[in-house]
């Protein structure tokens, strides 16, 4: 264990040699490296070789220009869109981003099974099973639409409200829904405890959809950061933690410096990319969840 830790440290010190040579290593890291150099012959050798490499590169002469690059005439300046056009473009892009965000919310709501939006809004659910499958219930809500062909929604929706009404509605709809009443009627007539039992299978379709969404979401923003230097990834022993924190703070400062210059247009662009990726993933998940539900039914 100590040997592995030692190797980690050695590797990290080796990476610091270049910055040390240029005098840009933070003070604390520099002191640590100097202490390490006192006892590590390999690092001393590498530092010397690195110094020679830098000196050799510095010794390369600069070539003379073959001719003057002065401009004989002013080139035509770049045509940039007028401010009004740029504002319009910005507004349109923002609208796109907002629309994508709204679509994302709707899909999350659909996958998570949040109630609302349908004509038949669910009252306080009678059984926990019904509570777990509002997504399916939502599908059943637009009774007149062919979506009601899916049998499980009909099974669940009916017991919650009025079984009789469900029975009346179902036969009118489709042959698929006609198959449902024989299953639900006895359940409705008997006990509410049994009502809760049959839908237990259907919730299985919903939770995986939800968990997948939660699992899939983080990578949508993951594409945004740029190149990360490998220094940050190294987590060493407790002794090095301070050093790592100091470096991380240094890095954070650099990132903040960079972020300060982030223009409005760039921010919207990243927003669009993030939302676009999110919507894409959600559409796939949503289609998958629908497919599974229809297969089960």
């Amino acid at each position: 264990m100590l040997k592995v830790l030692g190797q980690f440290r050695h590797r990290r010190f080796r990476r610091d040699l270049s910055a040390y040579l240029d005098g840009v290593l933070p003070q604390r890291a520099r002191r640590r490296l100097e202490t390490h150099l006192d006892s590590c012959q390999a690092c001393c050798q590498e530092l010397a070789e690195l110094r020679v490499t830098v000196e050799a590169l510095g010794s390369l002469p600069m070539a003379e220009v073959p001719r003057s690059f002065a401009l004989a005439a002013a080139p035509v300046a770049e045509v940039r869109p007028r401010p009004a056009a740029r504002r319009l473009e910005f507004g349109l892009r923002l609208a796109t981003a907002t629309a994508a965000f709204a679509l994302t919310l709707v899909m999350i709501g659909d996958l998570a099974g949040l109630p609302g939006g349908g004509e038949k809004e669910m009252p306080a659910p009678l059984a926990p099973a019904a509570e777990e499958t509002p997504a399916a219930a939502m599908e059943a809500a637009p009774v007149e639409t062919p979506a009601a062909e899916e049998t499980p929604p009909a099974i669940e929706a009916a017991p919650v409200e009025t079984p009789a009404a469900a029975m009346e509605a179902a036969p009118v709809e489709t042959p698929a829904a006609m198959q449902a009443p024989p299953v639900e009627t006895p359940a409705a007539d008997e006990t509410p405890a049994e009502l809760a039992a049959p839908p237990v299978e259907t919730p299985v379709a919903a939770p995986p959809g939800i968990t997948e969404t939660q699992r899939e979401e983080p990578p949508t923003g993951g594409g945004v950061p740029e190149e990360q230097p490998p220094e940050e990834k190294v987590t060493e022993g407790a002794g090095v933690e301070e050093e790592v924190q100091a470096y991380a703070a240094d890095r954070q400062a650099a990132i903040e410096e960079e972020g300060g210059g982030l223009s409005r247009g760039e921010a919207v662009r990243w927003l669009e990319i993030g939302l676009g990726a999110g919507v894409g993933i959600l559409v796939v998940l949503w289609a998958f969840a629908r497919l599974r539900t229809s297969i089960r039914s």
Binding site: R14, R15, L17, S18, A19, D22, V24, Q45, E46, A48, E49, L50, V52, T53, V54, E55, A56, L57, G58, S59, L60, P61, M62, A63, E64, V65, P66, R67, S68, F69, A70, L71, A73, A74, P75, V76, A77, E78, E226, E227, Q228, P229, P230, E231, E232, D250, R251, A254, I255, E257, E258
Partner: protein
């Protein structure tokens, strides 16, 4: 090299004063040309340098202060990277071949005697070949830092990335160059040989 009234010259250039811009061109053309020379080779360096100044003039309005040299070198770096990308899409013209054809290592030094000149050329050739093995972004960082002597602050502007990324690119590039040179240490001039 920084000229005292650089800011004034930049402002005049932004107002459309071509004479002021050409003064800036005279100051920085050697650095721009040398960067292009080491990135894309002598065959394409001239065109890349000229394109850099044309692009710079067109985009003067986007210069918001800071180091003009870094801003200019960033434009040159982007043009060189575009050229390298373009070459990669045409396999017939390989980068190494282009770099070695008109090797900038053959730059004559007026002060050196013939023996020193030969050694220096030899070293220059090795360094150029070593640089050609690096990925473009590491090569760019090494050239700007170790040959052009840009500070880390200027490098962040010229490379358009964070300080951490700059340090990382330089460290990796130098490590590869060290390995390359130390594998050929017997070919190095005496002052660059280390005792084992």
């Amino acid at each position: 090299m920084v000229i005292a009234d650089e800011a004034q010259l930049v402002r005049s250039s932004q107002r459309g004063d071509l004479g002021a811009f050409n003064t800036l061109v005279q100051v920085y053309q050697r650095q721009v040309y040398n960067l292009c020379l080491r990135m894309v080779g002598s065959a394409a360096a001239e065109d890349a340098a000229q394109e850099t100044f044309i692009t710079a003039y067109r985009r003067l309005s986007s210069f918001r202060g800071g180091s003009f040299r870094a801003w200019l070198l960033r434009i040159a770096a982007n043009i060189c990277c575009d050229e390298l990308r373009h070459r990669r899409s045409r396999p017939a013209a390989s980068l190494e071949a282009a770099l070695e054809a008109g090797s900038p290592a053959d730059v004559p030094s007026p002060l050196a005697n013939p023996e020193e000149e030969a050694l220096r050329r030899e070293l220059g050739r090795h360094l150029q070949q070593g640089l050609a093995t690096l990925p473009a972004e590491q090569r760019l960082a090494i050239i700007l830092r170790d040959i052009h002597g840009l500070s880390y602050e200027e490098l962040t502007e010229a490379l358009g990335c964070s300080l951490g990324t700059v340090k990382s690119r330089i460290a990796r590039g130098r490590a590869k160059m060290r390995e390359y040179l130390m594998a050929r240490r017997e070919l190095l001039p005496r002052q660059f040989r280390l005792e084992q």
